[in-house]
């Protein structure tokens, strides 16, 4: 049977036999965008309750009873034409759910300008926003003072207020900062107050006497009076006795950081004080808050959120943002992460959500003998960029960054980036400019292809129907084979070149007897039976005190050529156990498998390839890396990184494998750098049931920091 085995249910009714067509669009990031279908029906039927607005729509696979796409009816049109009467229905998918709520939200607000002098300030005093408060050149803050010669009496005060959380309808989670006194006087106090909302009374939570020094303060929401409060007030106050102010009657408050109370992914307020780190929220903190705050139709409790632990710094949307906008900013800031959804598998279920690092190797492969349009354009190629930014005083500055690009020769193509209203500095502008030029240094690998037959799923070793090929978990890549490779473009031949499992090239992959084949660097290695995923033994790596370049070499070290053959592609993988989160500092390679290759074709020096990184959270993780050994390679060696300099931060590796990619050399699953092939990211697929075809929209890379720069103006204004 080769009918298209898709079924469509709207509300409680099954419409498969009545629809004239089904079109489903899925995008990355985000997942299902919409489902559209037409149902010829007489107008007297048109008030069918199953087609009511917000009614649930599911497209499912009749073979597996699995849902392929889901949505809620958003548009219903009664259409009459020469062809008769019909209902035209559009159901929005989960991606659109991420745009349905827009709200201000503050994760961490570090801006001094978010504070204002309070009208509670009495005549004798004043407050001014200022920079370089700590004489170190970087801090922004406030100077609260009683001016020289003024009489300061009991209860005179200088206050600054923070109201942004109130306007965002959020509670305070944490406030940190530093204050520095101009004098020592027990009658002057630095005060902290909070209140629930405008009009309600303030509660004291801090009052310390002036002692002439600097004090770091750190107050969190579990401090009694702060619980559930939205408004903050810091002050410089005279408690008793009158005095005449001199030039030392001041306190400077700076490095102010305010954390808003977040939600957990399950939608509950995150009241665990330890989850508000003193430095910055991590990327996944924000993702989980978005799930709990703005995405009630997503299954936050069971969401797959990878913990990259990327500090996000100042992150506040004072003017409101949608979940889609916030997630886009988080992903862009990480540069490697993406988010997507998969439909709920049962009627009324919540949508599955995933925040994960974008895959770097292809899921699918197809021959370019289907309709395709893969332009190669110079449109987005630049070798010079002007970055406009604002300094701390809000004055515009320009930084020009260039990149040597042989493609353009002596020609200049210059772009302009406006960093908008965010305060920045020259170093940041240079970094972003370089990122931009790097991302725009070669033509995009994008375009469109049309799937009109099953294509190979490289991960599962089977073929996928057009409706199954869509951007999925962690971003889906497709490898487009050149049509002039006549040996491979006949589909039936493909089977011949896959399927045979290649030999594991490692002599001691499971560390069952001893640690033969492994050697140590700044660590002690041993065979451990405390944990294993294969057999009973694993390789334990215990750091020696001294540094973070802690690893076990797998095979020889620098200068050696191990296990592989030049000109072929390989996959190395293994399982790592992280018994406990590693203490800082750690190496950037911590908890990864690293391959080093030396080859003239790659350029001078060691070329380093890293597997995915195990999160710095206790658990067991699979690590994997696909790599190609150029035919002129002279060195190739492997390291299993621990990466921690703390002697109690041991890790264990097990189930190691190194296998040649399946197939012959002209059909490597993971060939890199072959000009005949292109590996692209599927950013959208639109499936049409009436023709059983899926049109894929491809991009070379996911939106990164550099890519996002084109839109930063709008984003940054929003982030304020």
């Amino acid at each position: 049977m080769i009918d298209v085995p898709l079924c469509l249910t709207a509300g409680l009714r099954r419409y498969t036999h009545r629809v004239t067509d089904i079109v489903m669009r899925t995008e990355f990031p985000g997942g299902g965008k919409y489902i559209t279908f037409d149902i010829p029906m007489a107008m007297y039927e048109a008030d069918d309750v199953n087609l009511a607005l917000r009614s649930r729509v599911y497209v499912s696979d009749a073979r597996t009873a699995r849902v392929v796409a889901e949505g809620r009816i958003a548009d219903v049109s009664k259409v009459t034409s020469e062809e008769g009467q019909m209902m035209r229905v559009t159901a929005w998918g989960p991606k659109v759910h991420a745009t349905e709520q827009s709200a201000p939200v503050i994760y961490l607000d570090t801006r001094a300008s978010s504070w204002d002098m309070s009208d509670a300030t009495t005549q004798a005093g004043s407050a001014a926003e200022m920079e370089d408060v700590d004489d170190a050149g970087e801090s922004l803050g406030w100077w609260l003072r009683f001016d020289t010669g003024n009489t300061v009496t009991t209860s005179d005060k200088v206050h600054i207020d923070y109201r942004q959380l109130y306007f965002a309808d959020q509670s305070i989670a944490r406030i940190t900062g530093t204050y520095r006194w101009g004098l020592t006087d027990g009658s002057y106090r630095f005060t902290g107050r909070s209140r629930h909302q405008i009009g309600s009374p303030f509660w004291w939570y801090r009052s310390t006497a002036a002692n002439g020094g600097s004090v770091n303060f750190d107050d969190r929401m579990d401090l009694g009076p702060l619980v559930g409060h939205q408004l903050l007030r810091l002050g410089f106050e005279r408690l008793d006795t009158s005095t005449t102010a001199t030039q030392t009657h001041w306190v400077k408050v700076y490095n102010l950081k305010v954390w808003g109370l977040r939600y957990t992914a399950s939608g509950l307020p995150d009241t665990n004080r330890d989850n508000y780190l003193s430095t910055s929220p991590y990327d996944w903190h924000i993702v989980e808050d978005v799930l709990g705050r703005l995405l009630p139709d997503f299954d936050g409790a069971n969401a797959q959120v990878q913990k990259l632990n990327k500090p996000m710094g100042h992150f506040a949307y004072l003017h409101s943002a949608t979940a889609e906008q916030i997630l886009a900013d988080v992903c862009a800031a990480t540069g490697t992460m993406g988010w997507t959804t998969e439909p709920a598998q049962y009627y009324g279920g919540k949508t599955n959500f995933q925040y994960w690092s974008v895959a770097t190797y292809p899921n699918y492969e197809m021959s370019l003998d289907s309709p395709a349009d893969l332009p190669k354009s110079i449109t987005e190629i630049y070798n010079k960029v002007t970055v406009r930014w604002l300094d701390k005083k809000g004055r515009p500055r320009n930084t020009v960054v260039t990149r040597d690009l042989p493609l353009l020769g002596t020609a200049t193509r210059q772009a302009f980036i406006d960093l908008g209203s965010t305060l920045n500095d020259a170093a940041t502008a240079t970094t972003l400019g370089n990122e931009f030029l790097k991302a725009h240094s070669k033509p995009s690998g994008g375009g469109t292809v049309t799937i009109n037959r099953p294509i190979k799923d490289l991960w599962l070793g089977e073929y996928r129907q057009p409706w199954e090929v869509r951007p999925r978990i962690a971003g889906t890549r497709i490898r487009l084979r050149s049509p002039n490779d006549l040996d491979c473009h006949q589909m039936q031949n493909w089977n011949d070149k896959t399927g045979a499992e290649k030999v594991n090239l490692l002599p001691n992959p499971s560390i069952e007897m001893d640690t033969t084949g492994y050697s140590e660097n700044q660590c002690t290695i041993s065979r451990s039976t405390a944990w294993s995923t294969r057999g009973v033994g694993s390789l334990r790596i215990v750091p020696s005190a001294g540094g973070t370049d802690v690893y076990a070499a797998m095979g020889g070290g620098t200068g050696s050529f191990n296990y592989v053959t030049a000109g072929k592609s390989y996959r190395v993988k293994g399982t790592i156990q992280v018994p406990q989160a590693q203490a800082a500092p750690t190496d950037s390679r911590a908890r990864t498998i690293v391959v080093y290759i030396v080859a003239a074709s790659l350029g001078a020096g060691y070329h380093e390839y890293r597997s995915n990184q195990a999160p710095n959270v206790a658990g067991t993780y699979d690590l994997q890396l696909d790599f190609h050994v150029p035919s002129d390679a002279t060195e190739c060696f492997f390291r299993l990184y621990n990466g921690s300099g703390t002697t109690t931060d041991d890790v264990r590796y097990d189930n190691m494998s190194l296998r040649e990619a399946n197939g012959t050399d002209d059909y490597n699953l993971f060939t890199l750098g072959d000009d005949r092939d292109r590996v692209a990211l599927i950013v959208a697929s639109e499936y049409t049931a009436s023709t059983n075809t899926a049109r894929l929209e491809l991009e070379s890379e996911p939106p990164s920091v550099a890519k996002a720069l084109r839109n930063l103006n709008a984003k940054e204004v929003r982030r304020a």
């Binding site: 049977m1 079924c7 009749a62 597996t64 009873a65 598998q345 279920g349 009109n452 199954e468």
Partner: protein, 469 residues
């Protein structure tokens, strides 16, 4: 006696005849032209390959052309007969019963509002007209309803000696696949049943039926031990009492001669502490370092035994037609489980694999219905003829809801000339429904539950019907 060609009200052996088009008194059929339906195909072709790839194909509607003679004694009588014909043609839907002289059994064409394409008045002593009508019709001619299963009990234990979670259906009649109409009465509340039919090419069999593994018969993994329990399939289960929170292999299953294809996998398991959270995952060890299934998070606050949905397991080139050979696999399946919250244990009873494939040798259609609060005393009907699901009170026949019930997947078909196996799980996927925004409390699964099934269908023919098939 001429061929039987007449408009009738139902597909029954003795239907009410509304207009006989070949009574050889007033009406005579001189030409009956009902060519079988043509296939509409989606073919991918280009200049880079010889031939093309047929991505999909389905039958189009058909047109039945009938030439009639109408002879009456007067113009008024002739007009009356024409009016009878006009009224039949104008019905939104109609049925033509067709049975050539000598054929044992009739077929029925489902027709739609149609028209007269030609009328020729003959000059004769009587009123004599030749009339040509063109009827738009469904692609298939339907035979009389056939019963495959009548009141058979299906037991909700995969190890039951009688009809364990399904049964092999008898020979299916017809030329092409036909939708089933399954009605079911249960001894327990049916809340999220899975109904499916797996069709196997002649000579092709499933290794065991049903495809299931008893946990206690597998190779035990970390922190697992066998515990006797009469409420479990096979009388035992394994209990996992973990020493750490890590996910580990708890049990490993192996089997030979497993047909290539996709399988929907469910694991019957239960927590010993309501509030604990466990994550369960399936690994197939083999090709290219194996396949990992989806995480099934057991978050529901209940310690009862339920089926956890472990996703779709692909074995080999599941979606590709196995054109040249019947491939079988030796499989090695590992069940991983880790406790992510709490302090209790996890009980694992059995694992079942429901075929879910479009493979040439193993075609399947499965459906899962969320029947919410349907309860004992009601009959649930999966009506493939109408592509609808509804219930009625078993004793009175009173329809409970005309709206239908939420469902995903396709109501099963049966395929003639093949072995058809019908599956029925009383309670699929109780863990994953824990995230449904519903106040309904899904009950636990019981291996002693059973349902009584009746399955009928209208065999489908491209033209006429043989006497016995």
């Amino acid at each position: 006696v001429g061929d039987l060609i007449r408009f009738v009200d139902t597909i029954t052996a003795s239907p009410t005849v509304r207009l006989n088009l070949n009574d050889e008194s007033v009406w005579a059929c001189t030409n009956f032209d009902a060519p079988p339906p043509r296939l509409r195909r989606a073919i991918a072709t280009n200049l880079l390959n010889p031939g093309g790839y047929v991505a999909s194909a389905s039958h189009e509607m058909r047109t039945i052309t009938i030439r009639l003679e109408c002879i009456t004694n007067s113009q008024d009588l002739g007009a009356t007969e024409l009016q009878k014909l006009a009224r039949e043609l104008d019905r939104p839907k109609n049925l033509i019963q067709y049975q050539p002289t000598g054929a044992t059994k009739p077929v029925f064409f489902r027709t739609y509002r149609s028209d007269v394409s030609d009328i020729l008045d003959m000059v004769a002593a009587k009123t004599f007209r030749t009339i040509t009508i063109e009827l738009l019709a469904d692609p298939y001619a339907l035979g009389l309803s056939e019963t495959l299963v009548n009141g058979v009990t299906i037991n909700n234990d995969p190890a039951h000696v009688t009809n364990p979670m399904g049964l092999t259906l008898g020979a299916v009649l017809g030329d092409v696949p036909a939708p089933l109409r399954v009605s079911c009465t249960g001894s327990v509340n049916a809340v999220m049943p899975l109904l499916g039919v797996t069709t196997m090419q002649p000579g092709y069999t499933l290794a065991t039926r049903p495809l299931f593994f008893q946990a206690e018969s597998g190779t035990l993994g970390t922190d697992a031990s066998v515990v006797s329990d009469a409420a479990m399939s096979g009388g035992s289960k394994i209990r996992v009492t973990p020493g750490t929170a890590n996910s580990s292999v708890r049990v490993t299953f192996t089997a030979d001669q497993f047909p290539v294809g996709n399988y929907r996998v469910f694991l019957r398991c239960g927590k010993t502490v309501n509030a604990d959270v466990w994550t369960v995952r399936l690994q197939q060890v083999g090709w290219n370092d194996g396949w990992w299934g989806e995480d099934a998070k057991l978050t529901i606050s209940s310690a009862a035994m339920r089926w956890a949905d472990l996703g779709v397991l692909p074995l080999g080139s599941g979606n590709m037609d196995a054109d040249n050979e019947r491939l079988t696999y030796q499989i090695l399946l590992r069940v991983w489980a880790g406790r992510t919250r709490g302090s209790g244990s996890l009980d694992i009873d059995a694992m079942i694999l429901i075929p879910a494939d479009g493979n040439r040798f193993l075609a399947c259609r499965n459906i899962i219905t969320d029947l919410g609060e349907v309860y004992t005393g009601h009959t649930i009907v999966w009506d493939g003829n109408q592509d609808a699901i509804y219930t009625h009170e078993t004793s009175t026949g009173r329809v409970q809801s005309a709206l239908g019930y939420p469902s995903v997947g396709g109501i099963p078909w049966v395929v003639p000339g093949h072995t058809n196996y019908l599956w029925y799980m009383v309670n699929a996927t109780h863990y994953t429904v824990s995230n449904i925004t519903s106040s309904f409390v899904y009950p636990a699964d019981s291996i002693t539950a059973s349902v009584v099934l009746t399955a009928t269908y209208f065999p489908r023919y491209l033209y006429v019907r043989p006497s016995a098939s």
